[in-house]
């Protein structure tokens, strides 16, 4: 009996092998949809967005449409990295033991990737391109439809490559990307008042600079191919086909490598011993034990994916919060990019001890190890964040030469002092260990909202003397601002160090025990849909969520924006008043918001735990 397959048999076998991943994926998807409502809800939201895009395509601007289509494809590639889209996905490594070649495996895996809510909704959304081209005739519709399919393939293959190379590597690239994306999302969300007018302009007609830039963006090419000269159309579509073919070839090589090597692609893990430069000669004035902790911390900052993610988030968040108002021609915040990034970095450092698991046993078994640990952590943070804060502040000052930078410059040392030491204390006080300190993922984020708020509040407290002098002080006091900021920073540094010392020296073994407590009680499950029964049974949790969500409105837009930045647009209550009434209402708003947030925190901490009594 021959085991050789005939040619049709071979073809059938290859086709069968191609179909296996697709069938696996279909089964996984069915099971996932039965068990979790999340993907269905996300799919419905996506469909609404796709419907809006198609509606916009009917009458909207072609360049803006190209930009939105590009953003959609980019989101398809990036979002699964951030939202755990790798779960439930058939990966090349799953086919390692199967008798299948690289090309059929890659085709099968891409076919499997195409099965899902995301790809289906994306295909609907990209139909906006032929819808827009309908005004140019049937040929234009066919060309743009082909272009839409090419863009869809680009998203499909790009997402598969990104998940395989970045998502599963858990390396610095994925961490940085996650930090940049979340920082951007939060930065845009925090600057909606400035972004909305710009978006409104963009939706009516793309400004000249956007039109010029879109000539180089592939998502604009399908429509440009039917609106420009015929020769240009052929060239644009051929280039788009070439890009898709290059991506496909890259994916085939990646799959072949994983299958042939018998191991998924991973960045090199072995790290050469650092040269003597890493011994921090310039920290010679610091005690040796503290210097050792500084060295350890700085290495952890550049190697730990979650730390990198936090840092990238803080930098992008601060820069965007200060820079995005430029879209509405407001450059008042630009010098504050540095202070905002520093405040963000402090907030994101409020759970770092939990990232290290039980590694604190080392300082607990060395003479005076606790002091070295506290000071080393604080000093390393300062060494890392100070240049970032200074650079962003200087960049902001250079970009907005008409804005007086004294307040921002004076606030910076205050925030640096508080940001370096208070988060060390907070993270020793509220240890939230990650499940696996050796290989943490973005989902293991140990930072909790209380720690973040305490670290942020400490920064604001340190900045308060400077801000108070800016708002209420006489103009003659302006030269004193830098000194006040510096003193405030030094005071909060020592305050934070003293608190952290106290905590670690007196309760070091309790901190270590908390760091080893990895089996946490189950998290409160929040319903994704409107569930009256749940709200009736979890009133305090529902109130806490409401207060923690809404409490920011009185604090920031109704309080700090009119008080500190003099922004008094229509819906800001204090903006309708002047003089002391303006200040009083602004302060009352801050007080109201703080009270709401504190009440929310207390209620959140008292929420009934699942499985509890």
């Amino acid at each position: 009996m021959s085991t050789q397959l005939t040619a049709p048999g071979q073809l059938g076998g290859t086709l069968g092998a191609i179909m296996v991943p697709a069938r696996m994926r279909a089964t996984m998807l069915r099971r996932s949809l039965r068990e979790h409502p999340g993907p269905t809800v996300a799919g419905l939201v996506g469909l609404l967005a796709a419907a809006w895009l198609i509606r916009y395509a009917l009458r909207g601007d072609q360049h803006t449409l190209g930009l939105l289509a590009g953003a959609w494809v980019l989101g398809w590639i990036v979002l699964p990295l951030l939202l755990g889209g790798g779960r439930g996905r058939v990966r090349p490594a799953h086919l390692r033991l199967e008798p299948i070649g690289g090309v059929p495996a890659a085709i099968g895996l891409l076919a499997a990737s195409a099965i899902g809510i995301g790809p289906a909704v994306s295909l609907v959304a990209l139909a906006a391109l032929p819808v827009h081209a309908a005004r140019y005739g049937t040929v234009a519709v066919l060309v743009t439809a082909f272009g839409a399919v090419l863009l869809w393939l680009l998203g499909l293959i790009g997402s598969a490559i990104a998940l395989e190379v970045v998502g599963h590597a858990g390396g610095p690239a994925g961490a940085l990307l996650t930090g940049v994306f979340t920082g951007t999302a939060m930065g845009v969300a925090g600057s909606l008042w400035a972004v909305f007018p710009w978006v409104s302009v963009l939706l009516v007609a793309a400004p000249g600079e956007v039109v010029r830039a879109m000539a180089y963006v592939p998502s604009a090419w399908p429509i440009a191919a039917v609106t420009g000269p015929s020769g240009q159309g052929v060239r644009l579509m051929a280039t788009l086909v070439g890009i898709v073919a290059l991506c496909a070839a890259a994916y085939i090589m990646l799959v072949r490598r994983v299958i042939a090597a018998g191991a998924p692609f991973r960045p090199r893990r072995t790290t050469a011993a650092s040269p003597a430069a890493a011994e921090r000669e310039w920290l010679g004035w610091v005690p040796a034990a503290t210097r050792a902790v500084v060295g350890r911390e700085l290495r952890a900052w550049v190697r730990h994916p979650l730390r990198l993610q936090y840092l990238a988030f803080a930098v992008v968040y601060g820069a965007l919060l200060a820079g995005l108002p430029l879209l509405s021609d407001v450059d008042l915040l630009l010098p504050w990019a540095g202070p905002l990034a520093v405040l963000g970095a402090a907030a994101m450092s409020a759970g770092l001890v939990g990232l290290d698991g039980t590694a604190l046993w080392l300082p607990l078994t060395t003479p005076d190890g606790e002091r070295a640990e506290v000071r080393g952590r604080a000093l390393a943070w300062l060494v890392l964040v100070t240049p970032i804060g200074v650079l962003l502040t200087v960049a902001g000052i250079l970009l907005a030469p008409d804005i007086d930078p004294l307040a921002a410059l004076s606030t910076l040392p205050a925030l640096l002092g508080a940001g370096a030491s208070v988060p060390v204390w907070v993270s020793l006080l509220r240890v939230r260990p990650v499940a696996d300190p050796r290989h943490p993922t973005a989902a293991d984020n140990p930072t909790d909202i209380v720690s973040v708020l305490v670290a942020t509040a400490a920064g604001l407290l340190a900045a308060a003397p400077v801000l108070a002098l800016v708002i209420w002080g006489p103009p003659e006091a302006a030269p004193l601002l830098p000194v006040v900021g510096l003193l405030s920073g030094v005071a909060t540094w020592w305050g934070g160090v003293w608190l952290a010392d106290e905590r670690f020296a007196r309760r070091g073994t309790a901190v270590l025990a908390a760091a080893g407590q990895r089996s946490r009680p189950p998290e409160t499950v929040l319903p994704l849909t409107w569930d009256m029964q749940w709200y009736r049974e979890n009133k305090s949790t529902a109130w806490a969520l409401g207060l923690l969500t809404v409490g920011w409105i009185p604090v920031i837009p109704q309080g700090l924006m009119p008080l500190v930045f003099g922004i008094d647009s229509g819906w800001i209550v204090a903006g309708h008043l002047s003089g002391s009434a303006h200040t009083a209402v602004g302060l009352a708003m801050v007080g109201l918001g703080v009270a709401m947030l504190l009440t929310g925190l207390v209620l959140w901490d008292r929420r009934p735990q699942p499985g509890g009594p």
Binding site: T270, S274, P287, A289, R291, G295, A359, W361, T365, P367
Partner: protein, 254 residues
Amino acid sequence: MIPPALEIRGLVKTFAAHRAVDGIDLTVHPGTFHGIVGPNGAGKSTTIGMAVGLVTPDSGQIRILGHDALRERGLTRALTGVLPDGLDFPERLTGAELLRYSAGLRGLPRATATDRAAELIDVLGLAKGAGTPLADCSTGTRKKLGLAQALLHAPRLLVLDEPFEAVDPVSAATIRQVLRRFVVGGGTCVLSTHSMLLVEQMCDEVTVIHQGRVVAAGSVAEVAAGGSLEDRFVELVGAEASGSAGLDWLTGAR
């Protein structure tokens, strides 16, 4: 008179309603190898943790080389080298960086630290682990690196929790040789283990802990009472070596 290397009196530790350590007394003579054995959950690691300051006792006294371990923490920490079981390391550091960090924490001069680290890496066969982040090292390599950092500052008392777990036989033989030289040189080594063979081969004295109490202590020969230490251990902890009853379905005709 030379004080005991480790002296524990009336040590108690309770976790919630569970009394993990229930009035343990333990004396480790200087210049000896002392084994602590006991079944899983007997309280060995908790006792060792309290001895080196990683767990706070509810009551009791601990003296290291004559110094009160609870009051003179700095001094006793300087005299002690510790290898705990199941705790994390600074996972982003490579093995070599861990040794440099540990040396820095203990204030060793850089040249001394570099020479000692290089020797330890060489002797313990850690060339690969020295350049690999700890998060990516095998359990055996982590144990060896942990042992290297415990030895780095030349302590007088070495407290090792399961030092041979997941270590390959060749490395284990090397470690045994290193530890013997340490004890011959006047150091004292306390180790907890499940291997009775290891205790018989290496230890001068042994303490058997069961349910948070010491059930036997003395020289290995005294505790073994003429038999094998393993049989005596099973007898002391009040359990029969089960496994002969039940599971008929496993051995029956198929």
